[in-house]
Symmetry: C2
Subunit: 139 residues, 2 copies
């Protein structure tokens, strides 16, 4: 398997952990040390995996169920570091219906003992277009 | 000079180019190839330095003058790749006064022929607190 394919799979594991809302899976995704950095959309950076883990536990404990799909992955590998730019499409099921949003993500991975682990996750809000917003010509 | 110090200087060069509103200086900061990625606050990713350069030219041509200060830099160097997490405080001078905003940035640099060049800039909006918002006790 190529380095790029292994990084793609590591990136997919992160989004599977998000969709499973499973902190234990998140532990397997991240490097897990004090140098890890996480930026949730619209928030300040969180430094260190211990505090990052807490933030995911809070997100996963919310009553609204969430699903997230990554697309348009651009992957670069340089020696033992790789970074992925991708678009996140987020669907949130709430009491009064479905809401959706989009984010742009930069994910950095480090290869340690043959495994690619996440060291940075930075997601930021981007405009989300629904079908209603599309020009009539193509709708 | 240590690797970390060289990366810190490369990061500072980026913000000097921003404050100088100088695309020529930006050319010296970036790796300049098709793999570069730039995410301006609240926007989708721009891929390739040619299009990134155009986006800075548009930003720099705006009539409102802008100044940007980076702080709270967290720097990691791994072989020929380095990444910086930092906070950006942005002041914008407009016709009717001064406005301010804050962003969280992830900047990735790659060492090529001894020089650290930017390959990713990802900035995203974060809440900005003015003195008026501070609790009375410490204000």
């Amino acid at each position: 398997m190529s380095d790029e394919q292994m990084v793609r799979e590591a990136n997919e594991r992160f989004y599977r952990a998000m969709n499973a809302a499973d902190v234990g899976q998140m532990d397997e995704v991240w490097a897990g040390d004090a140098t890890a950095v996480c930026v949730h959309p619209g928030r300040e950076a969180i430094f260190g995996y211990e505090r990052i883990r807490e933030s995911f536990a809070v997100i996963f404990s919310a009553e609204n169920s969430m699903s997230i799909v990554a697309s348009n992955e651009h992957i670069r590998v340089q020696q033992d570091i790789a970074w992925v730019a991708c678009t996140e499409t987020i669907s949130i099921m709430m009491e009064d219906g479905l809401d959706a949003a989009a984010a742009q993500a930069t994910n950095i991975f480090q290869r340690t003992e043959g495994a690619w682990r996440m060291v940075v996750h930075h997601a930021s809000p981007i405009p989300f277009t629904t079908q209603d917003d599309w020009p009539d010509m193509i709708n």
